[in-house]
Symmetry: C2
Subunit: 220 residues, 2 copies
DNA sequence: AAATATTTTTAGGCAAATCTAAATTATATT
DNA sequence: AATATAATTTAGATTTGCCTAAAAATATTT
């Protein structure tokens, strides 16, 4: 079960995994955008991935990870999220500055390293952005997370995830003190623009629709 | 000062650094051995490194790192040794199983990461094998280390480094409890085979000439 | 259903890092 | 000093991942 994948192959597999989350088969153009490369290059790579059994693919019909490819994607995501947790929890990175570095660290190939890192971190179940960390067999906790937009009034919840990794968003969240793990409660909604007053860790904050839509919470 | 080096280029620079430690100009064949590649490939790479200013080189005359190349080598070695320290100190790797993983980690490119890692580890001056860790400006402590073979009788010293990274050696050291940082004292020498009795952390151990020659100590 | 637009694939090339085989230069031996 | 041996370089290929331009397939309009 030795992962004989190049870094480029791993990146494609991860990108395909993320793109198929929201929908069906992944289009060549969508993958090209994601990988910041050209459609022709994507076709080349897909053919290689198919020949190695990581994806299912028929000409012009889009790609999909095979069973094997899905397992591999989960292994990569596990590494990525464990490293993100490490960077924030231990090295005191801001949680908005870890993505690029984790993107490099995720390609280090050592089973032993990842198992020891996992143990060192105390087997965390969620990364600093609230995304679940797959365990060594690829399973991850699916936590019932709802959009803050849909949280009923006067219901306590915990901030669990953000909908995007954009640094502008992460910066805003930090200044508003909307951190992962914070307790929130919606106190008032304004139907005009769907903005709302929420209480975060006892402190009242006014947030826009766009911001609320970017936040996922776990009702208590 | 953005390091625009490929992983292959970094590995060559590091190899040249190590090879020039013990001697003068580095021969193509020596580099080929070290890099487990063929002399023809080495020549190609050397020409590229020269064109980028990392090495000084004249046809048939051997290579040498330039000032710039030396600085780069020290940056890579700094990363390698910090990661080794992390793996042993925090993740509880055996100090004989960290080399390969550190070899991968050393290529992660993030100034911030390395500075934060250094701080997290408490700015260590020596790695788990006793080798000095360069600081962010490339300076490292040169500690007066002598070979255990040359340590006078009844003189306390601390084990600081090993002469090789061979796993057979590291395994033997572990079973004999000759760990980095242990206190040693030579109690008796046998001129027949240059073997000796030493006391390590209060415990008497008998070691061969070959083993003693592989150990470097810092007299107290 | 035909024409147009969009998406995807093919064809042919390029740079990096390696290889083998052959040529060249340096070193050692007689 | 001439020759033999060893070290090094050059020449020509290969693989990986990417590119551009053109062709083919699919989707959308009219």
């Amino acid at each position: 079960m030795i992962s004989n994948l190049t870094i480029a192959e791993e990146n494609y597999i991860k990108a395909i995994y993320h793109l198929q989350q929201s929908g069906e088969l992944v289009a060549t153009n969508a993958l090209a955008d994601q990988m910041r490369t050209k459609p022709a290059s994507v076709t080349d790579m897909i053919k290689k991935l198919k020949s190695k059994g990581w994806v299912d693919y028929e000409k012009y019909q889009g790609v999909q990870l095979s069973e094997l490819g899905t397992q591999e994607a989960l292994r990569i995501i596990r590494k990525h999220r464990l490293w993100e947790f490490f960077l924030v929890e231990k090295l005191k990175f801001g949680w908005d500055e870890v993505h690029e570095v984790a993107e490099e660290l995720e390609h280090i190939n050592s089973e032993l390293l990842i198992e020891k890192l996992d143990a060192y971190l105390g087997f965390p179940k969620f990364d600093p952005h609230g995304d679940p960390i797959p365990d060594s067999s690829g399973k991850m906790e699916v936590q019932l997370q709802i959009n803050l937009i849909d949280l009923p009034l006067d219901t306590k919840a915990v901030i669990k995830a953000v909908g995007s990794q954009k640094s502008e968003l992460l910066e805003l969240l930090r200044t508003k003190n909307l951190l992962m793990g914070s307790e929130v409660e919606v106190k008032q909604r304004y139907s005009f623009d769907h903005s709302m007053d929420v209480v975060v860790n006892g402190q009242s904050v006014y947030i826009s629709q766009q911001l609320a839509q970017a936040l996922f919470v776990y009702p208590l």
